[in-house]
Symmetry: C2
Subunit: 238 residues, 2 copies
């Protein structure tokens, strides 16, 4: 067997020896999906239907304020909402963080306003942009819910083929750096009572398993950009 072999010296540098060197250290209490334990939890998850349609559209937010648009692009693709076609996609379609801003979406929250202070989207603006895509959307502020209701709702929607559930939470409440954040949920593991967050800030953190109570507490925090209302969760279906 003939082979063409390229061999280059591997550059070893101090501080680069850890396989996780490139993302931020994870706080105690959360489990990366990209570990044997985290992978086993996905395989043994009691609700993981949504993991597949979401993970095949997993994406990285385009800029530090775009966790909302990245999450919306993933979910519109996962829902098989008819996608904008372009020459770059061979006349087929794919939602991305630019083309989600249709005229109707811009009327709710202009893309330009997301990258200016106070940066990002509130949970209500996020729900409004989703609804502008002719979807059925329910925004729940954590202060208007409770852990049991959230857990039950999220499990049911992670199991079914119709709904996706998206969370808006304060990172520092679960020990991460540091502000308000939005990402989709991908699965629930009953044995550990943890949800899988498919974190769209992929340069910062891997997907993590977080305890339901810790996630609810992180959602039950006030958003100064939203009149002091709490963060929470959003259900969406076609």
């Amino acid at each position: 067997m003939k082979r063409l072999v390229f061999v280059a010296v591997v550059t070893m540098a101090a501080g680069l020896s850890s396989a996780q060197a490139e993302t931020l250290p994870l706080p105690d209490g959360v489990i990366s999906l990209a570990t044997p334990q985290g992978a086993a939890m996905l395989f043994g998850a009691e609700a993981n239907t949504d993991y597949f349609p979401l993970s095949i559209h997993f994406t990285t937010q385009d800029n530090p304020a775009y966790c909302g648009p990245a999450t919306i692009a993933m979910v519109l693709n996962a829902l098989n909402v008819p996608r904008p076609a372009s020459d770059m996609t061979l006349g087929l379609g794919m939602f991305d963080q630019n083309n989600i801003f249709t005229t109707a979406a811009e009327a709710v929250k202009p893309a330009s306003s997301i990258v200016n202070p106070p940066y990002g989207m509130t949970i209500d603006e996020f729900g409004g942009v989703l609804a502008a895509h002719n979807l059925e959307v329910e925004v729940v502020h954590a202060a208007d819910s409770d852990l049991e209701t959230f857990r039950k709702t999220a499990i049911a929607q992670l199991e079914d083929n119709d709904h996706f559930i998206l969370v808006n939470y304060l990172r520092k409440s679960i020990g991460q750096e540091s502000g308000g954040h939005i990402s989709p949920l991908g699965a629930y593991d009953q044995d550990t009572d943890r949800f899988l967050i498919l974190d769209v800030t992929r340069y910062k953190y891997p997907p993590i398993w977080v305890e339901a109570a810790a996630l609810f507490d992180a959602m039950n925090t006030t958003d100064s950009a939203n009149g002091g209302k709490t963060r929470g969760y959003v259900s969406v279906s076609r």
Copy 2:
């Protein structure tokens, strides 16, 4: 419990009722990962170590000629090669389909040449660009290998923590539209003798499980842009 509810009429249009309407129909003989059968195969896959580091960096090729750059970006991130930082990633880093073209990579295959005829990269150019990132790379043309060798090599590398394996194959040979293509392998299922291709043309096809023999035959096809040499597979490690 108070909730803020957005409800919009779901637009139903002829031809949009199928959940797969937005990608091309899959040929007989391959199985989408985003089906209950495909998901069960991942959970029961005898080699799936590589699925996790790759899937958390899964991406869509930026243009119709960029299956190679998209695959390279995924693999460099999965290997935790030190990543280029930018303001758009908060001073952290992430490989994408632009910044993989370092000076050393451009010297092997300029980005501009990929989007001009004959379009794309040959397997040798692809291996060369990977090697330009100080990686250990082995390019194997299918004509210089055989099904048994490919299967054994790929399984070992899908199981370990060091190597990734990438395939260059002719789509029409497995019934897809239509030309030469490059994507990473994510897993192997022994019970069905199938490999999982994490297809980076995400607007066109979902990840698929394809029989080892069919994949090998699709690699064992001549590439007119590469002096008539066959396509094949590439192993990479740090």
